[in-house]
Amino acid sequence: MAVIKAKGLTYTYPNATKPAIQEISLKIEKGEFVILTGPSGCGKTTLCRCLNGLIPHFYQGDLEGEIQVVGLDVADTPIHKLASHVGLVFQNPENQLFALSVEKDVAFGLENLGVPREKMRKQVDWALEIAGIYDLRERAPHELSGGQQQRVTIASIIAMHPEIMVLDEPTSFLDPLGAQKIFKVIDELNKSLGMTVILVEHRLDLAARYANHVIVMDKGEIVLDGDPRTVLNSQKARLLGVGIPKATRLYQILKEENGLSTEKVPVTADEIAVLLREVLKT
């Protein structure tokens, strides 16, 4: 079942001379882990804003075409209603946190949705547990490290049990181990709860392994859309300057110069190592 459907979606910000995204058509199935990537300024963030109604309700501007999220027409559905279905995590957690304790920050969204107290307590504890920050629940968010803060924002989103989670470069301020931990939390939510994930990311070396669908945008349009191995192995992705994983790039080089070949194009260090071990043996 498609949880997100767009057809001919074109959006222009107020006072802008040209559209930020144009003629976007896409389909995202329930439970998919999607990576959305492409050069800076290609319209990724704008597309994310269309998914939870910030566009057109908050940013206004001119929206043409169709976009449906969990069967709701975004243009006709108020933000607060979409917010219970779609959670959005931004790049910089400091822009998103404001309460005096982690627990209060995580509870804020639920309070606004008018969830009863008992249920709220349960959902908050559950979210803190999943994000691995239960022990931090009484701390002030601003005293925490960047990685811990980002986990607070993720907890505050998942506490609302959204069917879809949209994360806009959630790890760019984090060190690699911190980033890996966040990706694992997201992966867990996707695999065990079937939450649909849309992750905007440049650092595909770290993230590609989790995805089963990759969308590449350029100049406001979708230019590649498909399974990760096909998209990341395409010449178009390389020419566009998508940061394809080194494992994939090394495979391409060896394929061209040595004739190394396999059906399952490697996207992780593990995968190419397995392949290389086979050929090194002989």
């Binding site: 800076s40 690699p176 090394l250 040595n258 004739g259 190394l260 071990r277």
Partner: protein, 272 residues
């Protein structure tokens, strides 16, 4: 030359960010300082231009102790590019922004005009000369911040997390630019946790953890030392991860760069 001798630094709120750091940076070196969030990387480089002064220990820039020297004076030698360009930019046009420091340093009008033109051209910003910095994209704003520092031609350029929010192509442009600066004899210090970027640059790498330096050496040694990397919350480059899994075939394990990886593997496997 920058000499850091047993520097300790405690912020007024009581956080001890540096716990005895010693290091020497020679003229013309290219250094990446890496480590986990909160390891003290930014605190350390803020000592290079006197923005922070050690609580204990000493920092000497070309033999001059930063304790007795103003930031304004030190900044002539050490230019600092902040992580977030919005903390640095405030003028109404890109041109004014780049000219600001030059005017403050007391350069003559003919000189600063020439330098502004040079810096804007160098960073591909000439077309935005009369544009407000706040109309530009994040990546472009970062370049304005860099142009405004390069314009006064400091000997040392220190950049805090220059790759955050930059796509792959912008990073490649930045990498070539840094190498060009370095070739021209400038000392370049980059604070970053972008391990793939550092692997492609292969500079001297300093790893920090909890206010201390835990490793210091050439890129392909430090970035392949898994124990130290883990201590500093860094994951080895993907190429290194691949070679670590092939170690029992007698291949080297200190490989960080894809071109080197290609050579080694083609030699072993043969060309088509």
């Amino acid at each position: 030359m920058i000499e850091v001798e047993d520097v300790h630094f405690t912020y007024p709120i009581g956080v001890e960010a540096l716990k005895g750091v010693s290091l020497t940076i020679k003229d013309g070196e290219f250094i990446a300082i890496m480590g986990q969030n909160g390891a003290g990387k930014t605190t350390l480089i803020k000592h290079f231009n006197g923005l922070l002064k050690p609580t204990k220990g000493e920092v000497l820039v070309d033999g001059v102790n930063t304790k007795n020297t103003s930031v304004a004076k030190l900044a002539r030698n050490v230019g600092f590019v902040f992580q977030n360009p919005d903390n640095q930019l405030f003028c109404e046009t890109v041109e004014e922004e780049v000219a600001f420091a030059l005017k403050n340093f007391g350069f003559k009008e003919t000189t600063w005009k020439k330098r502004v033109t040079w810096a804007l051209n160098l960073l591909g910003l000439t077309e935005y000369r009369k544009t407000s910095p706040f109309m530009l994209s994040g990546g472009e704003r970062k370049r304005v911040a860099l142009a405004s520092v390069l314009a006064w031609n400091p000997k040392v350029v220190a950049m805090d997390e220059p790759t955050i929010g930059q796509d792959y192509q912008q990073k490649e442009i930045l990498r070539q630019f840094i190498i060009q600066l370095n070739t021209q004899g400038k000392t370049v210090v980059v604070v970053t946790h972008d391990v793939e970027f550092v692997a492609e640059c292969n500079p001297r790498v300093i790893l920090m953890s909890e206010g201390k330096i835990v490793a210091d050496g050439v890129g392909n040694k430090v970035l392949t030392d898994v124990d130290r990397l883990t201590q500093a919350s860094i994951v080895p480059p993907q190429i290194t991860q691949i070679f670590m899994r092939l170690a029992d075939f007698g291949l080297p394990v200190d490989v960080i760069d894809i071109y080197e990886a290609r050579e080694i593997l083609l030699k072993r496997l043969g060309k088509k």
